[in-house]
Symmetry: C2
């Protein structure tokens, strides 16, 4: 958080959270904020652009900016890491590796992880809990070049993300998430302690480094009574997309 525009964005977020600017209220004009913080108008615009992307404030040319919401979305790190997310909410996360094995990479693995040849990948099946209650089954496939570091992580490690950063300096930078719903089935029902026909919220995701190199892909199934997802969007930036399912030949 060295950049001045990030500092200003954070101050504005706090001001909105603290109620200094209530929902529906008007933010000061750009020139006013520039004067208050002693920066140019361009720097202020970078700050408010961040809040706009987060869905906190709305803006129209000619009119003052409006506060739309008060709570900001989670940081990327909190979304990536189940443990960090739980800690930020004041809950305790647990995790246990049920199975772990190296397998020959399938065509799907090669495509999703952009592997050169079809060498080996590392499959890990984890069950994760929130305050002792099991809420998530996680099936992750790691690329070969990160697999050794993952294998050194102990089975009941709370935060794999933090462990990998400590060991290798690896930073997750981009993610793509595909969301749908499935029935639990026999295996997941047993692991989560729910009925076989219970609906689960499935998130299939691919995570890459800042250089665009895929690190892992995962099939996560959440108990929908315990966890759900929210997305903000606007005319200016729309990261959420609807897709025709495979059953429809999309």
């Amino acid at each position: 958080m060295a950049a001045r525009h990030e500092e200003i964005a954070e101050e504005l977020r706090r001001a909105i959270d603290d109620g200094e600017y209530a929902v529906g209220a008007l933010l000061p004009a750009e020139t006013g904020l520039a004067g208050r913080y002693g920066v140019s108008r361009g720097t202020v615009r970078q700050a408010v652009a961040a809040l706009t992307a987060e869905g906190l404030i709305g803006s129209r040319q000619g009119a003052r900016r409006v506060v739309l919401a008060s709570r900001r979305s989670q940081s990327f790190e909190e979304l990536r890491s189940f443990a960090q997310w739980a800690r930020a909410m004041g809950r305790r996360a647990s995790g246990l590796v049920v199975a772990r094995e190296r397998r020959r990479a399938t065509a799907e693995d090669v495509a999703r992880l952009q592997l050169r040849d079809d060498g080996e990948v590392l499959h890990v099946l984890r069950v994760r809990g929130l305050d002792g209650e099991r809420v998530l089954v996680e099936r992750t496939v790691y690329a070969d070049w990160i697999a050794p570091a993952v294998e050194r992580v102990e089975d009941d490690c709370e935060s794999v993300t933090a462990r990998l950063y400590q060991e290798t300096g690896l930073v997750f930078a981009y993610g793509k998430h595909l969301i749908d719903a499935v029935s639990a089935g026999a295996r997941d029902a047993e692991l989560l302690g729910v009925r076989r026909t219970s609906p689960l919220l499935r998130v299939r995701r691919v995570t890459t480094t800042a250089a665009g190199r895929p690190v892992e892909w995962s099939d996560d199934r959440y108990r929908p009574d315990a966890v759900n997802f929210s997305v903000h969007n606007s005319i200016g930036s729309n990261p959420l997309a609807r897709q025709a399912g495979p059953g429809f030949g999309g």
Copy 2:
């Protein structure tokens, strides 16, 4: 699309789509693009910032930008409007109003739609189809000030969004989406032609105008074999957030 930086962003998107810049390839430097398009570096930065937010390209200080994906996410309008989305995919959307009635606004309606008093709201239950197959049950609550325009829309109208824009000039600008999974239940099962225990993908959303005024909120339930959702995010911008479900006292 008057702004030069938007034109440049669109040209870059097309170039990536057409394979001029393949996935994994390096984009030209900012100064190079600035020269090619005859604009300043700042304008190029606005263009590439848009693509970065869309998850198409990645960027790190000091290194050239990398192409991460080739297909861009849908526009806000396509997400908002089921009909426009279907048309963009070359499919035919249908829609039928099953029930429509004015009701006294509940406390939830007042909160979500930021109504002043607890007057009347308009409830509409629609079933929507893709190429004749029923895929979505939509329960929408409209604010009182837009209800008259909605009531003038015919029951089998394909695109309510387009109709409301024609009639009132109303533009939807911001959306918040809460995603989880539920079992169909007797009513939805009958409407969609699936089994009572089938999992459905539920999206509860609130849409507002550019001025931050809520227009509608809706409970949409999709057949997960027909439709699912994808989200892009990064360290820089993260619109996706995980939330503890109500069953956990979140």
